[in-house]
Symmetry: C2
């Protein structure tokens, strides 16, 4: 019994202006969008297209194209982001190696590409192929010795400094928004905040270029956060091509959520992990439709990246591992210990980093961003070069730490003492006694660990693109490898201990130190970001180690528990709070016993709410009200006495409507009466021409009663994405609660009762 005719009829009764009011429906910079309104605008659009599509074949095709535009946008984002990621990978590879030397055949080749065609058999020999020349070889014709070392050292620092300087200058001059990881801001944008230019073309270009520079400079940072930002810029770029997305901030955010998934997908070659990361960590409103499209976009991007094949091994998996032994129950203990370490490191990192960033914001330090970058780069390069584990790129380091020692391995980490009597197949080497190389490596790794832990705290948050995943993984992998080698040697020397006796006979391959590195990496990454499911999936996709689900999960669970015991905030939420973004976190639970009336404005003793009446205010009255206040909108009531609510008018739309009416509608003067009713009464002939504004009135403003518990109000704001909500009692308008009021109240309550965290 739905009377659609009646609705159309009643909408005809409304007074449409001759032409639609321009600019109505857009938002100002640093404002919050109204999700419900965006959604209903999209449905209107959709309905129009559907009804039109029945008129002609052409309209039908247009309708179909519109319906498919979502997939087209995903395809384009996947292609561009995948291509950019491939280019970034290739450029980083080349520039990282440029710090050490150059390829004589073709200067644009990286070390690996340069020596690719070399005939040497072992990896170590191949690395020393004649085509690749270190700077000292090229300039003073010496490859060994003190002067060669000093020259290489010096040039390493110089290259690092010039890369970093170039990067920070580009960011400063062309795109200030290109700094940082971008994930806190993208979370805020996805929750409905508008930051114009944050996802613009300049940001895209500069972030891509500077990301290459800073990663190559050897700073302790990674490329996944910035990759997410770059992918979101791509998403924003392409969504502006389709009116479905460019004109609707809500729909645009669906595209951006998918783009965030693409970012992780290409940074790590982890499409599923990327989708889950977007779902768990970044996105605010993530309907299943978006899940599905994200999945498609991530697939396209991963596929594009694979076609570019930056690593030359046609693998998507960044740190492919292959272990030959299962893990044993008793090993859960060191795994859980690594989880505890990860949780503690996460807490330490977040606290110190936030403290340092706060200092940067509040003291003079923040005024010299270029100098800061130069100093940190200089210290990093100076300390990193002498240690072989920090000199190379962090990805290579992680890759080596994750690897199991094969028989042909020439790395120092695999310098075990072979038993000459043992003849075994190549891939199943028993536990052996550590040689001198392993002990040296342990010392160097320990130093690298301390160095990484400290320098990362100062690096993250500088005015350059910087991601956290790779440094966190590196810290965890170093710690894990050290623990792994320790357990291995313990098991080798003490086969008879009760904990080893059951599973580790002499001559067996029972402990895999690489697995410990992987577990440690998961723990540290979890401690910093507080990711859960997406973390484990990303670790799988990074390493291909699907068999090691239980160790990874155990470490991730422990790490999260430990870190959460010291504070619920992950690094991204901490930065959001630090920067004061209006972000209503879906993870925070609000459990206080306050009511809507405690939060709404006006408070007791404040002047009463500024409202419009439906048929008694003049244009001048309204203009005065607009000038005197800075509210985003005004409730419209029947009369000041009854205070019965009929709708809500946006400030911006009121201003535009009045301006337009004054310009274009004859007879509208300052003392014209504004009518929000359906049918304005017949006025005497000499009275000024009335202004009918029912069209801009939102007839379904959201209301709650004054007795509504704040937890319900918070829930409503979160789930429906409201901007504001009106408070009534027995049908009378009492006040208003905005998103900012809610955030302020939540912060207040959290400060009052910090202990309650333990019981959540």
């Amino acid at each position: 019994m739905v009377n659609t005719g009646d609705i159309n009829g009643s909408s005809n009764l409304m007074d449409f202006l001759d032409e639609p009011i321009p600019d109505v429906g857009t938002y100002e910079d640093f404002h919050t969008i109204d999700w419900l309104r965006e959604k209903s605008r999209d449905t209107d659009r959709h309905r129009k297209i559907t009804s039109k599509s029945k008129e002609s074949i052409w309209e039908f095709i247009k309708g179909l194209l519109d319906a498919w535009s979502g997939w087209v946008v995903m395809l384009l984002i996947g292609l561009l982001a995948g291509t950019l990621a491939g280019v970034i990978d290739l450029a980083v590879d080349w520039m990282t190696d440029l710090k050490e030397g150059i390829c004589l055949n073709a200067f644009w080749y990286s070390h690996e590409q340069c020596c690719w065609t070399s005939d040497e058999t072992t990896f170590e020999d191949r690395d020393k192929c004649p085509q690749w020349q270190k700077w000292s070889e090229l300039m003073i014709d010496q490859s060994e010795g003190a002067s060669a070392y000093i020259l290489n050292y010096f040039l390493y620092i110089m290259w690092a400094l010039s890369f970093a300087f170039l990067a920070v200058s580009l960011v400063r001059v062309f795109a200030p928004y290109a700094c940082g990881s971008g994930i806190p801001e993208i979370k805020t944008i996805l929750s409905g905040f508008i930051i114009r230019g944050y996802l613009g073309k300049w940001t895209l270009l500069i972030k891509t270029v500077t990301l290459v520079l800073v990663v190559s400079s050897g700073l302790s940072l990674g490329k996944e956060g910035p990759s997410v930002h770059v992918a979101c810029c791509c998403g924003n770029l392409f969504s502006s091509l389709f009116s479905k997305y460019s004109k609707n901030e809500g729909k645009r955010r669906e595209v951006l959520s998918a783009a965030a998934a693409v970012g992780v997908s290409v940074a790590f070659g982890a499409p599923i992990g990327g989708v889950l990361f977007s779902l768990e960590e970044v996105s605010y409103y993530f309907p299943l439709k978006t899940l599905w499209r994200s999945f498609f976009a991530a697939l396209v991007a991963a596929f594009t990246l694979r076609s570019i094949n930056p690593f030359g091994n046609s693998r998507l998996v960044l740190f492919y591992v292959e272990y030959h032994t299962p893990w044993y129950m008793a090993e859960l203990f060191p795994f859980i210990l690594l989880g505890v370490f990860g949780g503690l490191w996460g807490t330490l990192f977040i606290r110190c980093n936030i403290a340092w960033c706060r200092r940067r914001k509040t003291t003079k330090l923040g005024k010299y961003p270029v100098l800061e970058v130069i100093v940190v780069t200089a210290i990093t390069a100076l300390l990193a070069y002498p240690n072989p584990y920090t000199r190379r790129s962090t990805s290579e380091l992680i890759s080596e730490l994750f690897n199991d020692c094969g028989a042909l391995e020439s790395s120092q980490l695999c310098d075990y003492i072979n038993d000459p009597n043992m003849t075994r197949p190549v891939d199943d080497i028993p536990d052996r006694q550590a040689g001198a190389g392993v002990y040296t490596a342990m010392w160097q790794l320990a130093l690298a660990l301390i160095f990484k832990i400290i320098i990362t705290i100062f690096t993250f948050g500088m005015k350059i693109p910087s991601g956290l995943f790779i440094p966190s993984i590196a810290v965890g992998a170093i710690a894990g490898r050290i623990v792994g080698v320790g357990v291995e040697q313990l098991a080798y020397h003490h086969h008879d201990w009760i904990i080893f006796r059951n599973w580790c006979r002499p001559g067996a391959d029972c402990v895999t130190p690489g697995l410990y590195a992987m577990v440690g990496a998961a723990a540290c990454l979890g401690g910093v970001t507080r990711m859960t499911v997406s973390l484990v999936v990303i670790m799988f996709e990074l390493t291909g180690g699907l068999e090691y689900i239980v160790p990874l999960m155990a470490a991730a669970v422990t790490s999260k528990w430990v870190a959460d015991a010291f504070g619920k905030e992950g690094i991204y939420e901490a930065h959001i709070h630090l920067n004061g973004y209006p972000f209503l976190d879906v993870k925070d639970e609000f459990t206080h016993r306050t009511l809507a009336m405690d939060v709404m404005r006006p408070r007791r003793g404040e002047p009463s709410l500024s409202v419009l009446t439906q048929d008694s205010m003049t244009v001048e009255d309204v203009e005065t009200l607009i000038k005197d206040t800075d509210y985003n909108g005004f409730p419209v009531v029947v009369s000041r006495d009854s205070e019965r609510l009929i709708g809500f008018a946006q400030r911006r739309e009121l201003i535009i409507a009045i301006k337009n009416a004054r310009q274009r509608q004859d007879g509208v003067v300052s003392n014209s009466i504004i009518y929000f009713t359906e049918d304005p009464p017949e006025l005497p002939a000499n009275s000024p021409h009335p202004l009918k504004l029912r069209r801009i009135l939102n007839l379904s403003p959201f209301t709650v009663t004054d007795h509504t518990p704040m937890e319900t109000v918070v829930d409503i704001f979160r789930k429906l994405g409201l901007r504001q909500c009106l408070v009534t009692r027995s049908g009378r308008l009492l006040g208003i609660i905005t998103k900012k009021d809610v955030l302020r109240h939540m912060a207040q309550m959290a400060n009052q009762d910090p202990e309650s965290i333990m019981f959540n």
Copy 2:
């Protein structure tokens, strides 16, 4: 400026009865819960515990225990569900083999366990170990020949029939709710519906036992859906141990969501896939906290199952595959074809199965469930035995189809003609010409495919536990393997074709038919269930084939597109609609241009809404109103004239409150006036004692205006989990919209305009 003192003050002013009203706050069978109310009740509880915990150490410990009870429940569910899954696997293994023969050493050994210690080297020889006796060998001492075949055939059918008969009888007599897959009902329950006994102890017991019986009987069904049901029963069982969960239907559903994840986790050894399945397919309200706990529970369950080690290979991965060649771009074409096949099969299956189930519901057929099961089992066994690919258990079939042919493989599917000149390592066999065995296998597989497609349509929905994953995977795997062998032979015989020339030189191993089986399986499973991300993750975890993400995703995307083109509903949603459950799907989009006033009751011309007034109705008035109507609750207004809303009173709570007052409160008689106001006025001494019921009044009923678009209303119902919503205009109460009204309206609109699906 939060005035908490004031709130406590005002709540003291309310009139508490001497003791709390019993039974208030619970729901009746087949009713919908109010999520907001459950949530706020939980917060109250939480607040009470937090404030008490400051009083003494003991209360503090109790508070901590309460906070950790969520994890304890998860641990218990994981342990029990993992154990049950292990027991089910072992029992199914044994009973499936019992249909063919028995182990002489120990009758409780399955064929594989029986021959485990045998010394034979090849798998085929080991399968014929002397300890294992076929029935014909045992009874007439013949292992070959016509009479042995007939005897084995006959006993196979008899065992199958007796298992199936026992199963259907147990379900009929002890637990009618134990039938079916359970997922449609669990989806409905998780969305807030109450079905008492559906997750009870009897259902748990009977479903576990009958699941073993029906899977062993060789019917075309799987165990994952029922596993989810079993795990949810465990969840329900353990949540009743903790008052936090037993007394709050909303919190209980969080546990059940996690339990659903556990179910898939143990059915497939796929913990991450399980969590995603619960998130994507089953759950309604899935906060991140639940994600995290589900993850933990799934971990514990997978770990428990691994400790029981039912497959004897200490792998979690059910169908572990290891392929030795990558896939090539040109292969995307057959993969996408398989995707199309999967989509078509999904559509065909859903349509036919729903038509058959509708017939069962509406005709006499439904009255003979036992006979139906017997007939279907007899037909299945009769047709399955002659074909070696349908005789064995479906899991074994899938495992064989997924596998790549090694050099030692003795299966018919691997009967290729070896080139005698070729000497190559064992695991890298080039493409070879198919031998006679492969051609026979192809015919048998084609017959098996037709058989499985048809019989599954009639099997799913009978009064026995039945899951759909395994049959769908089997259909896809068979089709995929056939296509794979076809492509392989094409490539072998036509190396010079342009599509093969680039990647398939003679003597190379270019096509892996097992991979095609895997891709086909994903496509078919996707077509039936419309899962997306969880599908791909489950396929990974089932097979360990992380390298094959792009083929799997391509097939899954295609399959979903094709299937969605014929109808948006997956099999579970289709069954929900068929059974008429009040399920508000988050996936359906409502895009019609109706307003709240078109849906609310009373409609035009109907008698006006039954309301209570705050201070003028007597006990008798209210009792009459309750007797004359069957509404779940009544709005309370200031007066009938003003119709200004002040709250909402639940029918059930009104009845209980009045009954209690009449029994226990002196002076409450039929013409006592009921007050919902804060302070009832002083009454003359001779008037009857008033009844103060503000306590049961919900002071924050949800309201929308009559002009609110229905799409917003649908959104609100969905996201906030409302039971009903009141409709107002300018502060006056106009009508009410319940969840059922919304569902009815959505169905109506969908019927009016079925075409609009194309544009979604």
